[in-house]
């Protein structure tokens, strides 16, 4: 397989290149962007920013809550031992444990989802350039079809790249 990409020094340049690619009829999903830091100002940064992360976190919290409620109650009833004139299932203290495990559930759910959705840990793809972490912004296309190739290259150069790179 092969890929064509170019490196840009400013987000605007990168954005221009991206727009060019779209104009050249490249499907949005095929355009790859990589940067050493998050950008908020440019449209390209807003690709698939929509996320369920918040709801999943809440779900995780709920799972933690249910589990801990079950755990405390079950264990206290498993071998009921009287202490200090307290009820066998003592909700006041149990609430503390329930709270902690609820939060733990939320945190773990969040992190897991992050890893899954962000494909971490994963292998570094062919289309990558160490310059990215030096502040350059990479814009490119994987396996371009021969038909679109010229238009594509034109668009990338138009973005203001020094050179075209292939990998």
């Amino acid at each position: 397989m092969s890929a064509v990409y170019a490196l840009y020094s400013s987000p605007d340049a990168a954005q221009r290149a991206v727009n060019g690619l779209y104009a050249a009829g490249i499907a949005q999903a095929d355009v790859v962007v990589m940067s050493g830091e998050p950008f908020e100002a440019q449209p390209f940064a807003h690709r698939d920013s929509a996320t369920w992360l918040w709801y999943i976190a809440c779900l995780g919290g709920f799972v933690g809550l249910v589990f801990s409620t079950w755990l405390t109650r079950m264990t206290e009833l498993a071998w009921p031992l009287q202490t200090g004139n307290m009820p066998i299932v003592a909700w006041w203290p149990n609430l503390i444990v329930i709270f902690e495990l609820t939060m733990l559930g939320a945190i773990l759910a969040t992190v897991l989802t992050l890893f899954v959705t962000a494909k971490l840990p994963g292998r570094l793809p062919k289309l990558y350039d160490p310059e990215v972490t030096n502040g350059k912004i990479l814009v490119g296309v994987e396996n371009p079809s021969a038909a679109t190739l010229p238009a594509l290259e034109r668009a990338l150069m138009a973005g203001g790249a020094a050179e075209l790179k292939r990998s």
């Binding site: 031992l81 009287q82 202490t83 200090g84 004139n85 307290m86 003592a90 203290p93």
Partner: protein, 230 residues
């Protein structure tokens, strides 16, 4: 009906002679820690006779008060134990399961009466002192908490005998070591659920009161106040 073991201590007849203290050591295999450890505040006396001075010479008085585990119904030492080593039995005793104890010493802090003791080292009985050990009472290893049990070994022994003889436990069948040794008969042990038992009778006495009642621990030891005349 389940028993509810309790004790009454008559401070008017207690002479503070300390026989109960030694009797407790003899019955419960309580180690003597030696002078060095005693100096570091590690002496173990499940039962201690507190003494408090009042007034100044020549109008000075001395108060004695034997303090052992009060076997509280709402014992602060119980819930704080993470491993249930300290818990409440069906007969209202404040039990300590040595094998469950991991030695957080939290129970000792929570106890307002300071009647819980910690094994700082493995107990030692230079031979043949070990021959005097009571086989009915387990030896506590280093790192666990121990305390007065109301001589639970005697309670169960008496209950087993009663069962064997197919009869109910009578009041006075059970005497913890301290009660038995007391020559002035200042201590009485028995079933608080039996309104006729001597200990119940004494607990109802107008002289009766509980130690640190306002801490809300519902102790099962009643102290009968000392009287004065002349």
């Amino acid at each position: 009906m389940a028993h509810k073991w309790g004790m009454a201590v008559d401070l008017d007849t207690c002479t503070g002679c300390g026989a109960c203290v030694t009797a407790c050591h003899a019955e419960n295999n309580i180690p003597t820690v030696g002078d060095e450890q005693a100096a570091r505040g590690r002496a173990m006396h499940w039962l201690r006779v507190e003494r408090y001075w009042e007034g100044d010479f020549p109008d000075v008085r001395l108060k004695f008060r034997p303090v052992m585990c009060q076997q509280c119904d709402a014992a602060p030492c119980e819930p704080v134990c993470p491993t249930y080593a300290s818990h409440h039995t069906a007969e209202g005793l404040n039990a300590q399961v040595y094998n469950r104890c991991i030695g957080t010493r939290y129970c000792a802090n929570a106890c307002p009466y300071n009647v819980r003791f910690f094994d700082f080292f493995n107990p030692q009985w230079p031979k043949p002192l070990h021959l005097q050990l009571n086989p009915d009472v387990s030896i506590r290893e280093v790192g666990v908490m121990e305390k007065c049990t109301f001589c639970v070994q005697r309670i169960s022994a008496a209950s087993i005998d009663a069962k064997a003889e197919k009869r109910e436990l009578k009041d006075g069948d059970i005497k913890p070591a301290c009660v038995q040794s007391c020559s002035a008969r200042a201590m009485v042990f028995g079933d608080l659920n039996d309104p006729e038992s001597e200990v119940s009778r004494l607990s109802r006495s107008p002289r009766g009161g509980k130690l640190l009642e306002d801490v809300g621990t519902l102790p099962k030891v009643t102290y009968l106040a000392r009287q004065t005349q002349v």
